[in-house]
């Protein structure tokens, strides 16, 4: 039973390794290459930069930057900034936390896009290429099949994303340490001590875990559509609810469907989306206590119930609808 489920999850991972692993790996590679390029270019003296930035007229600003035909480089500018900043544990920790979360951001969005397409294809692609009859020739239940697809995409695949985020964070801290080595105002040990790497990792793990529960109405809906339609799952997933909302408006009913979708479904799968535009990941990032706090909100459990209903529908359709 359990080894069968692991086998199903492994199958999912293999099929979508491109999205689950190589997509975040590419984001990491782009960031690393970009930083290395900046480091190389940054060492070069930019030939006689004539920079005359006068932003003193901007409200609340009295800054004037004037570089008159001196040989300078990005490195010089960074050095200047590092040297003249007041570095305490608090300011360091705050700057590094911003960096840590900023770096994670593109990974969240790439994962979200991958998630949507993987789930929409999960119970559709094998009906389209007719391999569904092969998958059904092994002794697993349709419930196990559907759950393995959900669990792999929602709770296992983020491990690769999180690993890549962590790798890029460590890389950036190493670069910063290298830059700091030449400054007396900043030393290496406080950088790593205030990096928040470990708490950041816990935040990411807890964030994705709870985000997975939070997004269940949307992921359930995507799997349901994937099992239900004969063509165009993406359009169905998007336009079926949109059509309902429009129909409701045309008929002149009170917008119950619209409100329901708005309150309980829409954008739940987005990392930056929960009622009041708070970010689940950021929310949980302020502390594990808040993550766990989300677990006891009614909203979350209503969402889980809706998601479970969609999943039950997906399982039922998987059992009866083999062909396109």
């Amino acid at each position: 039973m359990m080894s069968g489920f692991i086998g199903l999850c492994r199958r999912e991972w293999l099929e979508h390794r491109g999205g689950f692993l190589w997509a975040p790996a590419s984001v990491a590679a782009v960031i690393v290459v970009a930083v290395v390029l900046v480091l190389i270019v940054g060492e070069l003296d930019l030939a006689r930069v004539d920079l005359d930035l006068d932003i003193s007229e901007a409200p609340g600003s009295n800054t004037e930057i004037r570089i008159d035909g001196e040989d300078t480089s990005i490195r010089d500018l960074v050095d200047g900034w590092l040297a003249h900043h007041e570095w305490t544990d608090e300011t360091l920790s705050a700057h590094l936390a911003t960096l840590r979360r900023g770096v994670a951001e593109p990974f969240h969005y790439v994962y979200f896009i991958v998630l949507v397409f993987v789930l929409l294809g999960a119970l559709y692609d094998d009906r389209k290429d007719r391999t569904v009859l092969f998958w059904k020739s092994v002794p697993v239940t349709d419930t196990e099949t559907v759950l393995s697809k959900l669990v792999t995409a929602v709770w296992l695949a983020p491990a690769a994303t999180i690993a890549m985020v962590l790798a890029v964070q460590v890389f950036l801290l190493t670069v910063i340490s290298g830059l700091a080595a030449t400054h007396e105002t900043l030393s290496i040990w406080p950088i790593w001590a205030n990096s928040g790497l470990f708490i950041g990792l816990v935040e990411l793990l807890a964030g994705y875990l709870i985000q997975g529960l939070w997004a269940l109405p949307v992921t359930g809906w995507l799997l349901f559509i994937s099992a239900a339609v004969s063509r165009g799952p993406f359009l169905w997933a998007l336009f079926a609810p949109a059509a309902l909302v429009v129909l409701e408006a045309l008929v002149g009913l009170t917008p119950a469907v619209r409100d329901f979708i708005h309150d309980h479904l829409a954008f739940r799968a987005l990392p930056r989306a929960r009622p009041g535009d708070e970010d689940v990941l950021e929310h949980s990032a302020t502390g594990l206590g808040d993550s766990i706090g989300l677990l006891v909100t009614v909203d979350l459990w209503v969402g889980i119930a809706i998601g479970a209903a969609f999943l039950a529908g997906a399982v039922h359709l998987r059992r009866t609808k083999n062909e396109i």
């Binding site: 069968g4 086998g7 099929e15 290429d129 391999t131 092969f134 020739s137 092994v138 002794p139 697993v140």
Partner: protein
């Protein structure tokens, strides 16, 4: 235990009655050929037996199980090929074998690998790189490596050239001789499989027209080759069918005395293909 017991199965698709009182039994050790023209309900019957679709009526048990409701238990005892050579193209053969082994305790990986060792199929290749014939070999190697009590094959040689067809049935027969499991195979090409069957079931318009052990063929059916002047006498004996051939008229009789027939012409045993045509023409 009887592998398959199907009685009076019915299934309707819109206006079409795909199954209309279909009966079938498959006993352990039998190789049953389910033979019928295209659209006669063969695939619908197999899908019901495999629990892939629900019936509108009738009674169906496979190893005493209800196929659609107990699919997992059913798939532990039944192996099938429903769509020959349709395997996940993105998957490496090694990973495919690992997958089947992880979800199916009845799968003997060594046996599948031994079967593949005799072919040009390399485990590190992706399924998508294989030719149609090789994909079929792979599919068969996987399915035959499952220690199943019942093997179900739906048109297993569709789209294959003659060489692969022959090899396919040779492999199937070798496997049967080693394992003695029940096999249920459908085809619209009688000639291809008549030499390996223990039983034939003719199906037409969703209904079982004939269920016969191939060993009973000679006892139950006779073919008479006669001259035109004998034809009226033979027609009076109520033949199943009559057709003109190069050498005269050919009549096929069911349950007729061979001695009585011998007075009118040359008596022999019809082939399954001839019998199939006769039964289908009888309507």
């Amino acid at each position: 235990m009887t592998a398959v017991v199907a009685q009076n199965l019915t299934k309707q698709f819109g206006d079409v009655r795909a199954l209309d009182g279909f009966d079938l039994t498959v006993e352990p050790g039998q190789i049953v050929g389910l033979i019928g023209p295209n659209g006669s309900g063969k695939t619908t019957a197999l899908k019901a037996i495999l629990g892939l679709s629900r019936l509108d009526g009738g009674e169906l048990e496979v190893f005493g199980l209800n196929p659609p409701n107990q699919r997992r238990d059913l798939m532990r005892r039944t192996a099938y090929i429903a769509d020959i050579g349709i395997l996940p193209r993105w998957m490496r053969i090694r990973d495919l074998l690992t997958f089947v082994a992880s979800v199916n305790p009845a799968f003997d990986r060594n046996r599948a690998e031994a079967a593949l060792a005799n072919t040009e199929i390399r485990p590190e290749k992706k399924v998508g790189t294989l030719s149609k014939g090789m994909t079929v070999q792979l599919h068969l190697a996987i399915v035959l490596a499952v220690n199943a009590e019942l093997l179900v094959l739906d048109e297993p040689t569709l789209g294959l050239d003659i060489l692969y067809r022959q090899r396919f049935y040779d492999a199937l027969l070798n496997d049967y001789l080693a394992e003695r499991r029940a096999i249920l195979v459908t085809t619209h090409e009688v000639r291809e499989i008549e030499h390996i069957l223990t039983d034939v079931v003719f199906i037409d318009r969703g209904r079982t027209r004939l269920h016969l052990g191939t060993e009973e063929l000679a006892a139950s059916f006779a073919k008479v080759l006669a001259n035109a002047e004998r034809s009226d006498a033979l027609r009076a004996m109520n033949p199943l069918s009559e057709r003109r051939s190069l050498h005269g008229l050919e009549f096929i009789f069911r349950d007729a005395s061979r001695q009585a027939l011998a007075d009118h012409g040359e008596v022999s045993t019809p082939s399954l293909a001839e019998l199939f045509t006769a039964v289908m023409e009888e309507r």
